[in-house]
Amino acid sequence: MTTATASPLLEAHGLTKRYGDTLALDTLHLSVGAGEVYCLLGANGAGKSTTISCFLDFVRPDAGSAMIGGTVVAQDPIGTKRRLAYIPETVMLYGNLSALENLEYFATLATGGRPVRAELAQHLRTAGLTDAQLEQRVGGFSKGMRQKVGIAIALAKGADVLLLDEPTSGLDPKASNEFHRLLGLMRDRGAAVLMATHDLFRAKESGTRIGIMKAGRKVAELRADEIGHADLEQLYLTHMHD
């Protein structure tokens, strides 16, 4: 397992976001380095998605800053987005376009140039789609297949930062397993991954570090290799109860 480098690719400095009376994020600090997979655990509404949204500039923090590669996201949203890939729970694509056409579109948006089709096809294959599936319209694609297109987008951009929002919920065990294999691949290529998830097992398996969030705050952070499955579950439940 690779270790985190000195300069983190993803960094949150005292991120704070308020929606009316609700504090969605409360001075959150975290950092993820290259080759690191940081898993955010927490109940629904704990602030996991808001954290990811801050890195995407979907949400502007009221205080603090989200940084990618040392650049503050809010100051250069376009520049920072060049380096990242985003995979939501369900990767929604244009149903009437084929997988390749979808990728072509997003790659064009991502790079500003005209991508080479053969390369795109190769990325889709790397992500695990068969040749027949490349030309199929994605309207009938399963969640897992869509996720593969999402990974292919990340590959096509050459993203070194991955933001994953509950990517495996609702996937069957085989698809979930396959996704984590791909995640491992990205990590090994030196990507920094921030993943919000409910899956304690996968967090332990694929994560390098795990943060537990509650009511907008990070209440615990630990290294995945320092804790067993049972302990993690126990720790999680303890935090949820008090």
Binding site: L56, L84, T90, M92, L93, T108, A110
Partner: protein, 476 residues
């Protein structure tokens, strides 16, 4: 930008409903063009027939006159075309024809309920200004599916169908988040979406206008027609721009696609149905259509009164035409007496006619004001005006007609009182009817307020709409 638009087109063109909607739209446009072409074709045929009939009749009279003079032929005196009273009452009467408007095939408008020709005689206008074309009233009630109708009613629906979910659709399908996660200005993506649709809308507006013009065989080599067609296309574009900006505005409200469809449908109903209904009700209440029934009874009473005071009528007539009476015999001529009676009746009727016309003019002016209540009515007025099937061109015709009728009567009254006999030369010297189209200044002045209002609305709704949409599209 071009590439983004190309992608957008790729997504859009795979929507089967788009093609269905387009096909229906084009089908309606084709039907409307065909129907307009048939309508103007029939009108032109009728006019050609009238012109031929008139030429033949005048030629035969001109040929008959020398024969009558020479005594080789004789006709009863009440058929003698040399008598001014006889010639003016029918034999030499000319048709005052209102030709189909410059873009008539595009809009039938009011043309199917207005007379388009009249045989002008020396008699009172009420007796001959009545030539309605035969038409099943159920069809008049159903209304015409002409190009103007397709533009006014169907075109907005097409614009709305194309634009109601520019952002909401992407948001609901979830693709917006993925797009926004890319290193590209959201404005550029939005610009591609909006721009492509704007191009499509503009293209359809132009295609429908020009296409219909070509399909209906308008003389596109004629400068007047081309100018009008350009103005027409401009109005249609502006109307499209209006609906487009309404759609942008509603899109920026961050409603769901279904809610924004309902909201836009509401806007369509408001502009195309509700506001015009209110405007029409306002016109009817403030300026009711003056009653021709009342006018008819007034005319009858005036005629009866003139007949009762025959002596007065004739005396007044002589005083009105000093020096014109060549000899006292003219006064005992029953034809002269008839003219004198008609004159007396018309004198009594003059204030009634004036009041009637004033009421109609006031109603038309009010209609121009109330039109401004709804962009659809503004556009309807402009399209009808440009095509020449509205009430203004008809009124313009009626005014020229009245002047012509006046001239016709004066020339015949003078000849009758002088007991002149007409000959082929004087026949040729009779006033000729030619219809002069309204000049551009008058037309432009009438169109300007509506067009400016529409332009103002496009800016007032479109600019903030675009800004708000730009902001709304930044968040998934």
């Amino acid at each position: 930008m071009r590439e983004l638009m190309a992608f957008e087109w790729r997504v859009l063109r795979r929507e089967r409903t788009l093609w269905l909607v387009l096909a229906v739209f084009l089908g309606l446009g084709a039907h409307a063009s065909a129907s307009g072409a048939r309508f103007t074709g029939e009108r032109r045929a009728a006019i050609a027939e009238l012109t031929t009939e008139q030429r033949a009749r005048l030629d035969s009279i001109a040929a008959l006159m020398p024969q009558l003079d020479a005594g080789t032929v004789s006709v009863p005196s009440f058929l003698d075309p040399r008598m001014p009273a006889i010639a003016g009452r029918g034999a030499a009467a000319q048709y005052a024809i209102l030709p189909p408007g410059p873009l008539a095939a595009l809009s039938i408008g009011q043309a199917d309920v207005q007379p388009f020709w009249a045989q002008v005689t020396t008699r009172t206008k009420q007796t001959f200004f009545v030539n309605d074309e035969i038409e099943n009233p159920a069809r008049l009630l159903a209304g015409r599916l002409d190009v103007a109708f397709v533009i006014l009613v169907v075109f907005p629906l097409l614009v709305l169908a194309l634009t109601f979910d520019v952002v909401a659709g992407e948001r609901e399908r979830g693709t917006l988040a993925l797009v926004l996660a890319q290193p590209v200005e959201p404005r550029r993506v939005l610009g591609a979406k909006v721009g492509l649709r704007a191009l499509l809308v503009a293209g359809m507006a132009i295609a429908l206008s020009i296409g219909a013009a070509v399909a209906t065989g308008l003389p596109v080599s004629d400068a007047q027609t081309v100018l009008r067609l350009i103005a027409w296309s401009g109005v249609v574009l502006l109307y499209g721009a209006f609906w487009f900006s309404v759609a942008l505005f509603v899109n920026a409200r961050r409603l769901s696609a279904a809610a924004s469809a309902v909201a836009l449908l509401g806007a369509w109903l408001l502009v195309v149905v509700v506001l015009p209904a209110l405007a029409a009700a306002a016109i009817s209440v403030t300026h009711p259509v003056p009653s021709r029934i009342v006018l008819t009874t007034q005319l009858r009473e005036a005629t009866d009164a003139a007949a009762e005071r025959r002596q007065d009528a004739v005396a007044t007539f002589i005083l009105d035409h000093p020096g014109a009476v060549s000899d006292s015999g003219a006064l005992s001529d029953p034809l002269v007496q008839a003219v004198a009676l008609q004159d007396a009746a018309e004198r009594t009727m003059a204030p009634h006619y004036a009041a009637f016309d004033a009421a109609l003019d006031a109603q038309r002016r009010a209609a121009e004001r109330f039109r401004l209540l709804s962009p659809a009515l503004v556009v309807q007025g402009a399209l009808l005006d440009l095509s020449g099937s509205g009430e203004h061109r008809f009124r313009h015709y009626e005014q020229q007609f009245d002047r012509y009728h006046q001239a016709w009567r004066e020339t015949f009254t003078a000849r009758m009182l002088r007991r002149e006999r007409l000959n082929p030369a004087s026949l040729a010297a009779l006033p000729d009817w030619t219809f002069v189209e309204e000049d551009w200044d008058t037309l432009g002045a009438r169109l300007a307020p509506g067009v400016l209002m529409l332009l103002g609305l496009v800016l007032a709704i479109g600019v903030p709409g675009w800004r708000a949409l730009d902001r709304a599209a930044r968040t998934a």
